[in-house]
Amino acid sequence: MLRKRLTRENLNKWIDGLVASGLRVIAPVRERDGGRGARDGKGGLTLFRPITSSAEIAADYTKTDLPFKEWLFPPTEVILHYRIVDGEPVLEDPEVDATKTVALFLRPCDAAAIPILDSVFGGDYEDEFYMTRRRNLTVVGLSCTEPQPECFCAAVGLSPTSEAGSDILLTPVGDEFLVEVLTEKGEQLVNQYADLFADAGDLTKEQVTEQAIAKMLRKESLPTFAETYSELFEHPVWEEIARKCLGCGVCAYSCPTCHCYDIVDEATLFEGVRCRNWDCCGFALFTLHASGHNPRPTQAHRYRQRVLHKFAYFLQTYGRNMCVGCGRCVIKCPVGMDIYEVVQKVAQASERVGV
């Protein structure tokens, strides 16, 4: 692993260099127009958007309102085109975005979500739509120095300065940045601008990490249920927890790791597309059979699925839990469901039944 240092001035030069080189650079931008629901009192939402200059980057953001996910896994996407010619369907393969892209300033929680999505869309039956975008993406993470009240990355095996998912991780240390170059992809981005970077020398991120974790309000390691979900499955605690859940789906839509999707056709008489759209396990129709049978008939069944998918099933299948502790679902939930508290509550309930 290469370790470098970069001044603030050179960071901007580097970013502008990347933009000038023809790469698409996507970074947190404050969208002042048309943004609804902003909570920062400054108007607009902070979102990942392509930039044309380093000056467009939201300077003081703590966390984007939505995660980076939509750039790898868009809310809706055409997966098949067809036309009806002389009564016969003619299939056309759709185009997929293959623009060489640099994603700048993902917080470590958002960066860590990317390998989680990779394990779903890669593997057997590789999803070419996702993987094409993924192969063309380089991730530059930015360590977090101001954890927010809802944050709990340290409770799910990450930290405000963790490297997971980043090709390069920048950590602000004093007036400079420590640059950890973690992958070959990352090296390419740094090597082309070698004169901007100096040797890291004795620059370390330890103190930054400590200080950030000290500011984090929720960091007690969350339990997982890969071993105990069978015994917990019928526990009344789910009913109690899910009673206030509206099933609106905002938790899934704002989650950097949620990846469930629906496939639907949209067509006129002679032309159509098959689309893949974001879906959510909290919706009543999600598992409804054509026969009328529904394996998850109540919100308690559905909320249980959400928690156990993240903290038991995914862990069993892919070796890590499916939550990065960004806390977006916590701040966006209209009825104040808090997955950090929910997981603790489930764990306490499991102790009561002696699991």
Binding site: R24, E31, L47, R49, P50, T52, E70, W71, P74, I79, L80, Y82, I84, E88, P89, L91, D93, P94, E95, V96, D97, A98, T99, V120, F121, D124, Y125, D127, E128, F129, T132, A226, Y229, S230, F233, E234, H259, C260, Y261, D262, I263, D265, A267, T268, R274, D279, C281, F286, T287, L288, H289, A290, S291, H293, P295, H301, Q305, L308, H309, Y313
Partner: protein, 295 residues
Amino acid sequence: MVTVTATGMAMPRETVKVSRNIYKPYLMTIVDMRDETHDTRTLRLQFKDPEVAQTFDWKPGQFAQYSVFGVGECVFTIANSPTRKGYIECTFRQVGKVTSALRDMEIGQTIGFRGPYGNWFPVEEWEGKRLYFVGGGIGTVALRGVMQYCLDNRKLYDEILILNAARTVADLVYKSEMDEWAKVDGVTLVKAVDPGGETPDWDGKVGLAPNVFEELKPTPDNAILVTCGPPIMIRFMLLAAERLGFKPEQVYTTLENRMKCGLGKCGRCNVGPYYVCKDGPVFTAAQLAKLPKDF
């Protein structure tokens, strides 16, 4: 400058055409159809691409995504055995949007097909064993492929019992081919309908499938029981099998959960950590017992 769309997503500057699209179906022509009941139909399909028709292979118990362009996709089992290649058959009940559109299709029209997906019945492990197939209603469809396989490889198995049951005579599927199954040496065919579902000329049994099966006193020695039907029937079949002395490892069934991708990605058909589309649809009673009740 990048163009920004209404949703704020930038248009890509470079695109490539996908070339290994996992969601792209084969095109298949409907070459024949047969109504099994008032609401259930079997379609025979042929691949439009002769090369695919030659090479396409599957295992008994696997399923596929069938699609009507402009309407959507739908999951059914591949209802014929790989011993009967060159075509695909599916049997479906008209219950929703896609199955209604499929029911409106005519011979000669084209539908989409992608698969095969999922695991299959371990027919090699069953060699030398007695086989009991118990299907209820549309559930018999899930057994037809594997039954055909075992009938076509008759010598590999000990005696075979087929119980085809339904709520009423009108709901019994594969009426026209049951006689063909019964003609095979060493095959016993029993048909049954629920009490009240019989007609004056009904020559089969009257009773609930699990009860009829139990009354037949099938020995569990060196035997395999394969059953599929509505959830309530499966539940009571598993109990009946237990009373008859079958070990859970000897009993197979298939789960049907709502699916979209068929590839273990879309996150919908899971039962605990297992995806019915990838880890199933075939499960033994021993495996089911360990699963959370999420189906």
